[in-house]
């Protein structure tokens, strides 16, 4: 685990990755009406007593959305927080439904790729405590 927490964050690399998919991802982020209608389509939201932090849009806003808002300039601590959001709070089952057509799974997938590029990802083989649930 330790090496994940010590490596410096390569913000330039994050920014490059963000730019590569900017056209699509920023449009998704900006067209989201912040209406919360996607909530019930996520089984994790339903299973956690309708806790807002499991809403598909909430998860995206606080992971990929945050990366774009900060233009990639994030520290390791926030990357570790995002790790919880995009691996623990979303299992990428692909069942979320948005009436406007925002495709949440592709955004979570992209956030995971960015985190992986900074060596942030769950390591179940090393620490079973990362199984979380």
């Amino acid at each position: 685990m330790m090496h994940q927490e010590m490596k410096p964050v390569d913000t330039k690399q994050i920014k490059e990755m963000l730019n590569r998919k900017k056209g699509k991802m920023k449009r998704y982020l900006s067209y989201c009406a912040h209406c919360s209608l996607c909530a019930e389509s996520c089984f994790l939201y339903m299973a956690h007593d309708q806790d807002p932090q499991y809403m598909p849009s909430y998860k995206v806003i606080h992971s990929l959305g945050k990366l774009y808002r900060k233009r990639g300039k994030v520290d390791r601590k926030s990357l570790m927080e995002m790790k919880g959001i995009v691996w623990r709070n979303c299992v990428l089952c692909g069942r979320c439904y948005c009436p406007i057509g925002i495709h949440i799974p592709s955004m979570i997938t992209f956030a995971r790729s960015i985190l992986r590029s900074q060596d942030v990802y769950p390591q179940l083989d090393e620490a079973s405590s990362e199984s979380w649930l």
């Binding site: 807002p52 809403m55 439904y97 057509g101």
Partner: protein
């Protein structure tokens, strides 16, 4: 100032609105050039049996039950009324059509003024409902920022001022100036804010290959 708002700025706003939507549309097609959605060959498709009218109705109702209608019927009605009136009220409004006719000699069919006034009232009530949700429902508040309130305001103020102008409750000249200004602001912001969902909704449903398309789109991004 008054002249500018009532004359050239209307044209400028209209042009920004049209060009903005055009730009967003072109960007969308550029970004979705890749076609890799695997649509099975139509020869493999099993043709659905011919349905009787009764079966068709039952099937339609069953489908409806898997949508928003089931999770939140009130919001489904509110948002449908809101959006339908939002489009119909200004488009088929006598006041607008007269102005269009005077400046370009073209106009659409107009609804009776009392009907338009009622549709406007409906938009305002639905807007109030949206505001209430945003203020009091934890799940909506969790994803709300000042920006969301601002955009809601931008969408609703033209209807509020239009309504006040029609009723002539306050100083007409001021209200109508505010109305025109807010209408222009709305037109200008639509292509560049979350109001852009107006275009994106249709692009997504008609061109992207996905589970929820209305037709079999084949574009991917």
């Amino acid at each position: 100032m008054c002249y500018f708002v009532q004359g050239p700025l209307v044209l400028i706003a209209g042009i920004i609105f049209i060009l903005g939507l055009l730009y967003q549309g072109i960007q969308f097609f550029k970004l979705t050039k890749k076609k890799e959605w695997g649509v099975p060959p139509s020869s493999l498709e099993i043709k659905p049996q011919k349905q009787t009218k009764k079966q068709w109705v039952r099937e339609a109702l069953r489908t409806l039950n898997g949508t928003l209608w089931k999770t939140d019927p009130v919001l489904t009605i509110v948002t449908s009324v809101f959006h339908v009136c939002l489009i119909i009220a200004p488009l088929f409004l006598l006041g607008h059509n007269i102005l269009l006719d005077q400046s370009w000699g073209l106009s659409l069919f107009s609804l009776p003024e009392s009907v338009s006034n009622f549709l406007t009232l409906l938009v305002l009530i639905c807007g109030l409902y949206f505001l209430g949700r945003r203020l009091f429902m934890a799940r909506v508040r969790a994803i709300s920022t000042v920006y969301d309130y601002l955009v809601l305001l931008i969408a609703v103020v033209p209807f509020l001022t239009g309504f006040l102008a029609y009723q002539q409750w306050l100083n007409y000249q001021t209200v109508i100036l505010l109305h025109i200004l807010s209408g222009e602001l709305m037109l200008i912001t639509i292509p560049f804010t979350k109001l852009g969902h107006m275009l994106f909704f249709f692009l997504y449903r008609f061109f992207i290959g996905s589970e929820y398309s209305f037709v079999r789109g084949s574009r991917t991004w």
